[in-house]
Structure formats: structure tokens, C-alpha cells
């Protein structure tokens, strides 16, 4: 069973009725840093994912935060799915492969004003094209769509 399916299994049995959260103000902020350089991606602000250039073996620091700026009812049972893998961030609905470098899933309720964050540091293993993606799963039940932020990480 995949990590995501394993974590979400608990939430799916406890999903309640749609509460209606009002405006879509769930915002994801994704930042990648290394060697004094940084790049930021914010959900809904750019059609094309930005690119961050890193070096092979260089440690990159990936940080993300998700904030619910709505004033309505809580967004319940939202899964925050984060992964970094080889590939193109512009692909439609990319999914992590079996050799994904990092993947996490966290189920949370987002009350109005609540913020959640996470980070990891890891060395980029070898030259290639990678992408980081932070996405919600389950927000569409209340907001009508999922929210995501993505960034290309290029290792020449």
C-alpha cells in the first residue's frame, strides 16, 4: 500500500458532510533554498512553475506552509501531500514514482486562520530534472478545487 493511501485511509472513513468554506483562500507557499539562493512558488499566482538551479550533492532546503485565510467553517480532513521526484513540474497532475526522493502526507483540519508548515533538507543526488510539489487532497469537497504549488529543480 502506498504511503499516501495508507495515511488517507483513516481520513476517508471519517469524512463528514461538506461544510462550505466560502472563498478559496487556502494558500500554499513553497520555498527552496541552497547556497544562499532561494526561489518561491505560491499557489494560484503563476501558470508556469518557477525553476530553482541546484548543484549535484548540494543540500537543498525545502519549506512549505499552508494557511487557511477563510473566515468560514473549518476545512476538515485535508491531506497535505508533498513530494520531490524526477520529472517535469509542468506535467498534468504529476504523481510520485516508486523511487521518489521524498514524499509526505499529513491529514489536518484547517480552521479559519490556521497555518501548517513543514520542511526537509536533502542533498540532490545527481544531475537531472526534478520537481517539488505541495498539494491538497480533499479540499475540492469544500472549495471546488484542489490547491497546489510546484517548482522545478534543475541540477545541471
Amino acid at each position: 500500500m502506498s504511503l499516501l493511501r495508507c495515511v488517507r485511509a483513516a481520513a476517508l472513513v471519517s469524512v463528514g458532510p461538506c461544510l462550505g468554506a466560502g472563498d478559496n483562500d487556502l494558500t500554499i507557499n513553497l520555498k527552496v533554498q541552497s547556497g544562499g539562493r532561494e526561489q518561491t512558488a505560491i499557489s494560484g499566482q503563476s501558470a508556469a512553475p518557477p525553476t530553482f538551479a541546484a548543484k549535484a550533492k548540494e543540500v537543498v532546503w525545502v519549506q512549505w506552509s499552508v494557511a487557511n485565510g477563510t473566515t468560514g467553517a473549518p476545512l476538515s480532513d485535508i491531506t497535505l501531500h508533498v513530494f520531490i521526484d524526477r520529472g517535469d513540474a509542468r506535467a498534468a497532475a504529476p504523481k510520485p514514482g516508486p523511487k521518489t526522493l521524498y514524499e509526505s502526507a499529513l491529514i489536518q483540519d484547517f480552521e479559519a486562520g490556521v497555518k501548517s508548515s513543514g520542511e526537509f533538507r536533502m542533498p540532490m543526488p545527481e544531475p537531472g530534472s526534478y520537481f517539488v510539489r505541495v498539494e491538497t487532497i480533499g479540499a475540492a469537497r469544500k472549495l471546488g478545487k484542489e490547491v497546489a504549488a510546484a517548482m522545478q529543480v534543475s541540477v545541471p
Binding site: 504511503l3 499516501l4 495508507c6 495515511v7 488517507r8 483513516a10 481520513a11 471519517s14 523511487k99 521518489t100 526522493l101 521524498y102 514524499e103 509526505s104 502526507a105 499529513l106 491529514i107 489536518q108 483540519d109 480552521e111 490556521v114 501548517s116 508548515s117 513543514g118 520542511e119 526537509f120 533538507r121 536533502m122 542533498p123 543526488p125
Partner: protein, 158 residues
């Protein structure tokens, strides 16, 4: 019928005996397919109660690790709770004290409002660059309880 009841009882016994707040399953796998698992321990005491399993691999190998943590409390929440995980070099296998968290081989964390029955999972692939003894550990933070929980595996890289 009696057999089924016995199986259920055996499945429930460990949970009842430990009365943990967090259920944790941490797995580390080496390229040769060998794998070790660790489960929830608690601190204090320093280093916890359970001996740590040891996964052996070679320098340059990619270690895949995964953890899934479940908040088994059904009714309690904690604001700004955290989870931290890391791989850090240690002096010797099984040492009780956690080494200073410097020059970490891998690390990550989460800060979030912990809801009842919440699940958090992570998996990562890490190249172990140098020989040595390392501690792979995942731990709860700021759960507003009298102790925190962790699971840990020692990595012996030759």
C-alpha cells in the same frame, strides 16, 4: 469462533499494555533488501525503553526509510504540535543519548494542529555518504503531554 476471538485478543494486547499516545512504525531498507522496523518508544527515560534495531549497509548506498505516526487519542487535539525526523552520526550503536543535531545527513519536520486519530507519513531515500554509525529517529514534539514519543533505528554504514 474461539480461534478468532483469541487472534483478536492477541492483536489488542500490545496496545493495552503500552497505552501509547502515538502509534509509530518506522522502517529502513537497504539496497540488498534487508530491512529493519522500529515502533513507538517514549522519552523520558533518555534513549527510551526499547533496544534499537541495527540496519547494515555500505557507504554510497541509498537507504529508504518510511514512518507512519498515528495519534491514537480519540478526543484530544494539540495546537502547533510537531514531528521531527533526522539522521545524525552517533558515537556507538545503541547509545542512549541523542547526539547533538549537527551536520545532519537528512532532516525534516512538520508543525501542525494535531487532531484526534491523525496520521502523518513520510518516506525518503537518502544516500549514506560516509562509513560510520548513524541514528535514524522520528519524534513527536509539543504534544502537550507528559512525555513525547519516538521510534529509532541505528544505521551501521561500512
Amino acid at each position: 469462533m474461539r480461534r478468532a476471538a483469541l487472534s483478536l485478543l492477541l492483536a489488542l494486547l500490545p496496545c493495552a499494555a503500552r497505552a501509547e499516545h502515538f502509534d509509530i512504525k518506522l522502517t529502513a531498507t537497504a539496497p540488498d533488501g534487508s530491512s529493519k522496523e522500529a515502533f513507538a518508544d517514549e522519552t523520558p527515560p533518555i534513549g527510551g525503553l526499547n533496544p534499537r534495531p541495527v540496519l547494515r549497509a555500505k557507504a554510497g548506498d541509498t537507504i529508504a526509510f518510511q514512518f507512519i505516526m498515528t495519534n491514537v487519542y480519540e478526543h484530544e487535539s494539540a495546537r502547533n504540535a510537531g514531528i521531527r525526523f533526522y539522521i545524525v552520526r552517533e558515537r556507538q550503536l545503541g547509545q542512549k543519548a541523542v547526539p547533538p543535531l549537527e551536520n545532519l545527513t537528512a532532516e525534516g519536520s512538520f508543525t501542525f494542529n494535531l487532531k484526534p486519530k491523525a496520521k502523518i507519513g513520510t518516506k525518503e531515500r537518502v544516500v549514506m555518504p560516509q562509513p560510520g554509525v548513524y541514528l535514524l529517529r522520528v519524534e513527536s514534539q509539543r504534544t502537550q503531554r507528559e512525555h513525547e514519543h519516538f521510534a529509532a533505528i541505528d544505521l551501521e554504514i561500512q
